[in-house]
Structure formats: structure tokens, C-alpha cells
């Protein structure tokens, strides 16, 4: 693997399958008396979070600690960043602190790219603006394989799996990473959203597009709901929350259209009652809770593969 994980496009198919297989192996660690591995002992992982995200941050923190790494949490609020320190200066501070890896979440697309130019350690993109969130896509893929991948999963991708992603694709870094990763793993991706929330030039992406949710639900194995922010209404992306929910919300009625085996996913946090109804979120089809626990082991796998060996290969 490369030194950094900034975009899902950084991963070849064999890289991605390796991560999933490694995560599958690491899953058993949680069941052991000692829920830790010594692999990253003596290494320092810094969580550099410019956006509030307790869930993702604690997920990375747990992953790093289970590999015996030291974790330093650097949150933007109340730090030198709030006083106007630039990203570059923060990067230099982390370098001086000896960070072996920096996990960065930032509101600007490309922040992880820029950071990678200023630090010698590994950079893990935990979400940059509306660009990408590769570990989310990895844990989503892992969850799909876990639930639908059959008995012998090791070495497998997601070939032929039909995945439908619904919601504010335009502003979603989760969607971008998922489209790239799922395509590399052999899945067929369908994006469903109102035209205003579809990215410009989406026809150049490795996926199909539809505005008709009901038609797509009948023939999908996975439906992934994306969060819709209410602020999008004031920028005229859709007229009202009510209209959005009616046309693109996953309620119990729509859930009944799904094939029997199909699962419902959501990267969280959810707007219950907007893009997803409460009874859907709580149904047995929903993998939302599993996605969270899978997040830790997938991030452990990524940290191990990035940091657990010698430097990078060409």
C-alpha cells in the first residue's frame, strides 16, 4: 500500500481485499481476554479533527489503542487552530511531536492532500470536505461482505453485488469513496437522488444514475441512505423536507419493496424521519450498528497495513 490513505482511488482491488481480509482476522481480537495487539507499540497516532465527530474520532482512537499505539487527540476547537494557526503550522507541530500517522478530518476538500505534503508520517483521511472518506467506504464494504458474502469470504471482493446509494450525493464524501471502492471490488453501483443533488458530470463516474427510488429498490442487494442536511433547503436543492421524504425517504412502505435478503445501511448520523424512518433504522435489515463496530476493526486493519511494517513500496 502507499504511505497514505487519502482517497479510495489509492487502493487497487488486491489492496482493498487485503484490508477486508485483515479486518476479518482482527475481528476475533475483540473476543479475547486481552483485546490488544502489540503491533504498533511505540508509535504515535494523532487524531487531527477540525470537525466535530466524536464517533469517527473515538473509532480511530480505539483502533489505534488496540494495536498498542499512543494516541494524541488534537481537536480544532480551543486549540491553537481556533486562534488562527494555519494547517501548515499545525502539521509542523505534529511533525515535531513525532507523529507516525495523522488521522485528519477537515472541512475543506483536499486538506488531507495538503497535509501529506507537510508531514513525513502517514496521513489517513477521515473525511475532507465533500471529497472522500475512504475508511467509511472500507467499513461499508466489509459490512456488505460480512452480511451478504456467503460462508467463505476471504479473498473475495463484492463481485456482482448491487448497491444503491440514495441521498445528497453531491455533497457526500461517503458517496464518492463508496462509488470508487465498490467499483474496484466489482459491485454494481446505482445512485439515486433528485437531479439537484447529483454531481455535475456524474456520467463520468463508474456507476449508474436514477431519479426513481421505488424502481431501484426492487432490484438491489444493498440500499445505503445518506444524510440530508436541512440547510440544503435554503439553497434550493429541494423545496421542503416533506417533499424530499416523500420522494426519496426510506420508510417502512419502501422497505417492503426490497428483496428479502437486502440490507439497509447508513453511515450516520441519521436524520430519523427525513431520509430514513425510525422503524427502518431499527429493523433487522439495518446494519447501522454493525457498521460502527466494523469501523474499529477496519481502521485497525488500515493502521496495521500502513504502519505495521517497514516504509513504503514504490
Amino acid at each position: 500500500m502507499k504511505r497514505h490513505l487519502i482517497s479510495a482511488a489509492d487502493l487497487s482491488r488486491s489492496d482493498a481485499v487485503l484490508i477486508l481480509d485483515t479486518a476479518a482476522e482482527l475481528a476475533s481480537v475483540a473476543g479475547r481476554p486481552i483485546r490488544k495487539l502489540p503491533t504498533l507499540r511505540g508509535m504515535t497516532v494523532v487524531n487531527l479533527f477540525y470537525e466535530d465527530s466524536t464517533r469517527t474520532r473515538t473509532s480511530f482512537e480505539a483502533a489505534a489503542k488496540r494495536l498498542s499505539a499512543d494516541v494524541i487527540n488534537f481537536s480544532a476547537k480551543g486549540s491553537s487552530v481556533a486562534k488562527g494557526e494555519s494547517l501548515k503550522d499545525t502539521a509542523l507541530t505534529l511533525e515535531a511531536m513525532g507523529a507516525d500517522a495523522v488521522v485528519i478530518r477537515h472541512g475543506a476538500s483536499g486538506a488531507a492532500h495538503r497535509l501529506a505534503g507537510w508531514v513525513t508520517g502517514s496521513v489517513l483521511n477521515a473525511g475532507d470536505g465533500t471529497h472522500e472518506h475512504p475508511t467509511q467506504a472500507l467499513l461499508d464494504a466489509f459490512t456488505m461482505r460480512q452480511r451478504l458474502g456467503g460462508v467463505a469470504q476471504r479473498g473475495n471482493g463484492l463481485d456482482g453485488l448491487r448497491v444503491t446509494i440514495v441521498g445528497d450525493v453531491l455533497h457526500s464524501r461517503v458517496a464518492r469513496s463508496n462509488v470508487l471502492l465498490l467499483a474496484v471490488l466489482g459491485a454494481e453501483v446505482m445512485l439515486v437522488a433528485p437531479p439537484t443533488l447529483m454531481p455535475y458530470a456524474v456520467d463520468t463516474w463508474p456507476c449508474k444514475v436514477s431519479y426513481d427510488l421505488d424502481a431501484e429498490l426492487r432490484k438491489t442487494d444493498v440500499v445505503m441512505m445518506l444524510r440530508v442536511q436541512q440547510e440544503r433547503m435554503s439553497a434550493a436543492y429541494f423545496p421542503t423536507v416533506r417533499e424530499y421524504r416523500r420522494r426519496y425517504g426510506l420508510d417502512a412502505g419502501r422497505m417492503a419493496l426490497l428483496p428479502d435478503h437486502a440490507i439497509v445501511m447508513h453511515p450516520g448520523p441519521m436524520n430519523r424521519g427525513v431520509e430514513i424512518a425510525a422503524e427502518v433504522a431499527d429493523s433487522p435489515r439495518s446494519t447501522i450498528v454493525a457498521q460502527v463496530s466494523n469501523g474499529v476493526i477496519v481502521r485497525m486493519a488500515v493502521l496495521y497495513l500502513l504502519l505495521g511494517g517497514a516504509g513504503e513500496e514504490a
Binding site: 487485503l18 481480509d21 482476522e25 490488544k36 502489540p38 503491533t39 505495521g308 513504503e312
Partner: protein, 214 residues
């Protein structure tokens, strides 16, 4: 960008057995070709007899296999452990629990090469607490793999005792580790390479001794 591969070992001029001999993961075609150019030091028949003998020894020293759990160290320790388990099961008429123990995450040479793919760790349902765990591996060389296995085992629970069974002991220990059960003692020089082939992984049973390439 390059794909991540399970560990590929270039031949090294630097001595130190802790690398090549105990590589986990698939060996390269180069290594196979080099190693097969060597002399056979154990034939399939000799391997079969050695395993039977070890199985009997295990039964002797553990009061008939009471509380014994076999854990093979991947890659080739695993089929060996299964064969031993099968033999012991035949002799005693009762199955002995068998599994595998991946040591990758506990190796002391992790930072010397790119991160390797993990192998399977499968612990039998009754676990290892209070059991006599017999670690099984194909070749005992520097002892570092076994040390890593002891660390990994420690995280799984607290066995009553830990023993070690190996098909070949080639000497050159770098740590105070010894095997309880040895198929064959094979004095070697550092320059030599011991190669174990098993039907389950390589299509045939054989132990070869060859020179490392320069």
C-alpha cells in the same frame, strides 16, 4: 501504484536466520526453484514415521492427551498439527482439539519489511485456559517465531503448560527456546536452507536441504 502482496523475500547476503526460514505466507517461485535444487533429507515415509512417533510421545508425556490442544503455526505448522491431531485421535479413539495461531502481529522483526498479510488464528471452542498447548511448526531455527507464538498465546489466555513440536530442528538458536518433540535433528550451516514441503500446501511431502542463492 503497487498492490500489496503477501511477503516476498529477496535473498539476502546478510546472515540471520530470523527472516527467511520462518517466513509466513506463500514462498516465491524463485525460492521454490532454488530450494528444490537440494538434497532430500526426509522422505515421505520418514515424515510419516516421525509424525507417528511425535504423536505417541505427546500421548506419553501428557497422560494420554488429557487437556491437550494442538495449535499449528501458519503456514505449514497448520497441516502438521492437523495430521498429529488425526494420529492422536486414531490412537486414543478420542479427538484432540486442533487449531492455528497466527504470530504475524507479535513478530519482533515487523519493522524490517512491509506489513504482511495476516494468517488465520482459529482457537478451538474450549479455548486454551488451563490446557496443555502444543505449538506445532515445521522448522525450528532461531526461535523467534516460537517466542512470537508464546506472546500471541499469552493474549489468548493462560495455558497450564506450553510445549513445542517441530518436524525439523536445524539448530542456530538465538533465544533460549527448545522443542519438546522433534521429528529430525538436522545440523545445518547458516548458508544452508531447509525446505519443508507438505502435500496440503505443496503437493508432496519432503524435506530438502539446499544452499541459499547468492
Amino acid at each position: 501504484m503497487c498492490a500489496m502482496r503477501p511477503e516476498h523475500e529477496p535473498k539476502r547476503a546478510v546472515s540471520g536466520p530470523s527472516g527467511d526460514q520462518e517466513a509466513v505466507g506463500e514462498d516465491s517461485a524463485l525460492e521454490r526453484a532454488e530450494a528444490s535444487a537440494g538434497k532430500t533429507v526426509l522422505t515421505p515415509e520418514e515424515i510419516r514415521r516421525a509424525l507417528s512417533r511425535i504423536a505417541h510421545e505427546i500421548l506419553e508425556r501428557t497422560h494420554g492427551g488429557e487437556g491437550v490442544v494442538l495449535l499449528g503455526i501458519p503456514t505449514r505448522g497448520v497441516p502438521l498439527a492437523r495430521r498429529l491431531a488425526a494420529r492422536i485421535g486414531e490412537f486414543e479413539g478420542a479427538p484432540v482439539p486442533c487449531g492455528s495461531l497466527d504470530v504475524t502481529m507479535h513478530r519482533d522483526d515487523l519493522r524490517l519489511r512491509p506489513a504482511r498479510a495476516l494468517q488465520r488464528t482459529e482457537v478451538p471452542p474450549d479455548g486454551v485456559d488451563g490446557k496443555t498447548v502444543v505449538l506445532v511448526d515445521d522448522v525450528l531455527f532461531s526461535g523467534r517465531t516460537v517466542r512470537a507464538a508464546l506472546d500471541a498465546l499469552n493474549d489468548l489466555g493462560r495455558p497450564r503448560a506450553v510445549q513445542l513440536a517441530v518436524l525439523v530442528d536445524r539448530g542456530h538458536r538465538e533465544l533460549p527456546i527448545r522443542a519438546d518433540y522433534v521429528g529430525k535433528n538436522l545440523p545445518t550451516s547458516y548458508r544452508e536452507m531447509v525446505r519443508v514441503l507438505l502435500t496440503e500446501t505443496d503437493g508432496e511431502d519432503s524435506v530438502l536441504l539446499g544452499e541459499r542463492a547468492r
